[in-house]
Amino acid sequence: MKGKNVSVPQGNVIECNDSSSDSDASPRANKLNGSLKSGGKPPTHPTFSKGGKGDQPGKSGGKISRSSSEPFIPSTPKINAKEELPKDAERLMDCEAAEILQGIQDQLVVLSQDSTIKLPRSFDNGLRYAKLGSHYTSALAVKQVLETLKSHKVSDEEICLIANTCPETADELFALIPSLKENRIRIERAIKDVLSELAKLKSGDYENKCT
């Protein structure tokens, strides 16, 4: 188990500099993304596109009289991660998480002679997912761009969601994060600016997937 122990010296966080955090490390990542974000064609499915009243999923209903009309979807679900997690919990964008987890995995490769070091399956799953959601070249730059939204009272959760979903247009963003709709008029300008900045930071890999 020397593996991580070596690199977890007294009370310090493992240094996980970005090393090879790009999503292109993953074959799965290369595969992702084809159509949704590509070529300005928002959803692959025709009925997903704008005019639809997608907000009422229970509505499909008629078919089965089961409990299907049910519980769901408050029209503007508010993500309240903080209420359930410790106060000092820090949200990570997928691209940040990918950098951290990739750093840990790289350390493991270096120390792989020690057969007692094994990462659980959930680590691989987590890393793969983080890489899939990592659409940008630099997590730090993305964070700096998105920080500007804080002055418009956009919450940290919403900021993370914007980074993770990587929307192309303001309409897409407001559709995916309905809690922002309330202040749409006030923040739309800022959102558009942020999206245009984020577009510049998209990884070449991601762009390729989109084309």
Partner: protein, 177 residues
């Protein structure tokens, strides 16, 4: 969504591990015990990123084991209602489909799949639109929204929907074939 959080845990160590490598032993045990576990409150512990502090040990009466309070940092994955995830479909049946996003499993009921997508049985069960332009089958990648979570001691299970704007298939492995 991933979070970086600080947690605490009391670790019990057998006296045979005492010595100059006690700290290493404790950290190794911590990683073994904690990584890959799931708690309803914190979600899946994906990886421990650091150990902040190991407190003074307390000998337990009768056993000789010593309990050390350990404060550590870790990356956890915790899904929330309203969150948008990109997930890989793992199983399709007439009730809906299952998908995985990281360590989390999500079920999308057929009521939460657009009405014009019909279930097609066969070797590769799938949901397809009438014109065949969109297909959801195993290995498809979908963007979905979490609308409910069920949490128990060891797992978090989510219910998702793709019946909303800008949700749905983002990559269909069968499309290229």
């Amino acid at each position: 969504m991933f979070f970086h959080i600080v947690l605490e845990r009391n670790m019990q160590l057998h006296p045979r591990h005492f010595g100059p490598h006690l700290r290493d032993k404790l950290v190794a045990k911590l990683m073994k015990d904690v990584e890959g576990t799931c708690s309803g409150r914190h979600g899946f512990v994906v990886a421990i990123t650091g150990v902040d502090n190991i407190g003074k040990g307390l000998i337990r009466d009768g056993t000789g084991f010593v309990t050390f309070p350990v404060k550590y940092q870790c990356v956890v994955f915790r899904p929330f209602k309203g969150e948008i995830l990109e997930a890989v479909v793992t199983m399709v049946n007439k009730m809906g489909f299952f998908a995985e996003a990281g360590p989390v499993q999500i079920f999308v009921s057929n009521h939460l799949i657009p009405d014009d997508m019909e279930f097609q049985a066969g070797d590769v069960p799938n949901y397809t639109t009438s014109d065949g332009s969109v297909k959801i089958q195993k290995e498809s990648e979908v963007r979905l929204k979490i609308i409910g979570t069920r949490v128990d001691a060891t797992e978090i299970f989510c219910i998702g929907t793709i019946k909303d704007d800008f949700l749905g298939v983002i990559n269909d492995p069968g499309a290229s074939s």
